[in-house]
């Protein structure tokens, strides 16, 4: 296996390791199609930005879409009635989204898990633990931010803000921009204790258990209390997070609007963009008329291949040059023997120059009269 994985890029390797992990934990694979009826997204447009979906007509004139998200396609198949047992699923899928930075469509390779079932507080723990282990497999050092949307919205609901001010404050919470928030609060005439609470929310970050203690003081109504309790439950599994740090950070936001309750994001050192994103999405199921609750996460694989390169690796162990008139059949037999010893071998005509096309190799040999002889590096 070790020899086999040598030829994989980092994202391919992570994909295999994560699949193994998910299967070990009893999750089964579900494969969804590349397309989905556009109507699904229109019905759920509060949860997904429908404007940027790529659509096309199928042969019957039905409007189809290239999937911008895998979770919706999985959730729509969940039975309406409460299920006898939870569904634990994982998927490996391509999704098509508009990149905000350059307004171009991008294909994202994702692997993700979904736990759909009855109300079960252990589901939160199981998924967050799985997310932490996934991050540990991806990078040596990782960080996970956990937040609870009920905590943030519960706190803001108490303030009596206009809808516009509330969404501006949310945007600035995501950017940890305390300065602009204090200006908006000033304009809205909010001061004293309420102002202090919101600014404390923005500036609160750091280790999970210490931050949770500090957040206790911000609890001001039953909704926030409930969110705090849910966060506190998560605390018990974080002790074994290995070489990762877990933070309570209320700036966590997700691109998709269907999350409610607990949400989290994972970063890996060396990858500048988000690696793992997930959370609870009971609202989505409720809206679809299903009596289940759900939590899940997805790992984006594309950036891993770009940023976590295997450095200094040769493209081939051995380069063998051959003349046009050599015994090529015998040479192929020789190559197969070398492959059996886990050597990567590249055959090239005598007159070709591999370094000119940017390929690197370990040793250079020449095939002559049934024998391999070393070519001295020039």
């Amino acid at each position: 296996m070790e020899a086999l994985t040598q030829s994989f890029s980092r994202d391919e390797l992570v994909l295999l390791q994560l699949r193994k992990l998910f299967e070990q934990r009893g999750f089964t694979r579900v494969k969804t199609g590349k397309f989905e009826e556009y109507a699904l997204y229109v019905e759920n447009k509060n949860f997904l930005d429908t404007e940027s979906i790529i659509t096309f007509m199928d042969l019957d004139g039905k409007l189809m879409a290239l999937k911008p998200d895998a979770t919706l396609s999985i959730v729509k198949n969940v039975p309406r009635k409460a299920m006898a047992a939870a569904q634990k699923l994982y998927y490996v899928d391509e999704v098509y989204r508009l990149a905000t930075e350059n307004r171009e469509y991008k294909v994202h390779n994702q692997i993700g898990v979904e736990l759909i079932g009855a109300d079960d507080c252990c589901a939160n723990l199981e998924i967050i633990d799985l997310a932490l282990e996934s991050l540990g497999l991806i990078g040596e050092r990782f960080a996970m931010d956990i937040s609870h949307l009920g905590f943030v919205s519960g706190l803001l609901a108490d303030m009596g803000l206009s809808h516009r001010a509330e969404s501006m404050i949310m945007d600035n919470i995501h950017a940890k921009n305390a300065w602009d928030i204090s200006r908006i609060l000033e304009q809205e005439g909010i001061n004293g204790d309420k102002r202090r609470r919101i600014l404390a929310l923005v500036e609160l970050h750091g280790g999970f258990s210490e931050s949770l203690e500090r957040a206790r003081e911000l609890v001001c109504n039953p909704r926030v209390e409930e969110a705090w309790q849910e966060l506190a439950q998560v605390g018990c599994i974080l002790k074994n997070s290995g070489c990762g740090s877990v933070n309570l950070d209320f700036s966590v936001v997700n691109d998709l609007d269907y999350y409610n309750g607990l949400i989290f994001r994972g970063y890996v050192e060396g990858v500048p963009s988000l690696v793992l994103t997930g959370g609870r999405y009971d609202n989505l199921l409720r809206r679809m008329g299903k009596q289940s609750r759900a939590i899940g996460f997805a790992v984006s694989l594309d950036e891993l291949g770009v940023h976590l390169k295997r450095r200094g690796q040769m493209d081939f162990d051995l380069l063998i040059s051959y003349a046009q008139d050599c015994d090529f059949a015998a040479l192929l037999t020789l190559v197969k023997e070398l492959n059996a010893q886990d050597k990567k071998v590249r055959l090239e005509r005598e007159d070709s120059d591999l370094s000119a096309v940017g390929l690197r190799y370990g040793r250079h040999m020449r095939y002559r009269a049934g024998e391999l002889e070393e070519v001295a590096p020039c």
Binding site: T100, E101, R141, A143, D145, N172, A175, K176, N177, W179, D180, H205, G206, S245, N247, S251, Y267, V268, E269, V271, P272, S273, L274
Partner: protein
Amino acid sequence: MLSIALPKGRLGDRVYRMLEQAGYRCADFFDGGRKLIIEDKANDLRYFLVKPSDVAIYVERGAADVGVVGKDILLESSPDVYELLNLNIGRCRVAVAGPNDFVEDKGATLRVATKFVNIVKRYYASKNRDMELIHLNGSIELAPILGLSDVIVDIVETGTTLKENNLRVFCDIVDISARLIANKSSYKFKTPRIDEMTEKLKEVIPND
């Protein structure tokens, strides 16, 4: 090593002066000549001098851990970064301006020339004002003079350029100043260093 992207030119120099005051002295900063990267081994820092409008891209994509950029650029490109501090320098405003004698015809489509496409779209959408956007890259003041547009939306510092061209400000859209931003992933792994820099810079922010 902490990488800092600074805007080339006057604003970048002022930011460096603030960093120097905050205790991050780097002897090579002004001797660099045309160097694009300045290393400060003593403080374990590295400066990149880039085009002001590119700072946010360097930070968002993680080529730099932190950077300093004008709020106008953040509003225009909405990068996914943390905005940690208002440095209160490079202050100006984005404003609507037009010819001194211009009277807005509320019954007609307003033609607006600007380089701040997104700020302008959001502003007029919030007022539900019908308008036609004309995207220019420079010499915006010329547009109303030649009749290309009715008004312009641009950065106004002192208003001298406007006055010289017989233009005046009708209303302000938003106040601008330089902001310290950080890459979200870098912030997770270099929290103490970035927090320390933020705290030290807080001490040297000029008052109004």
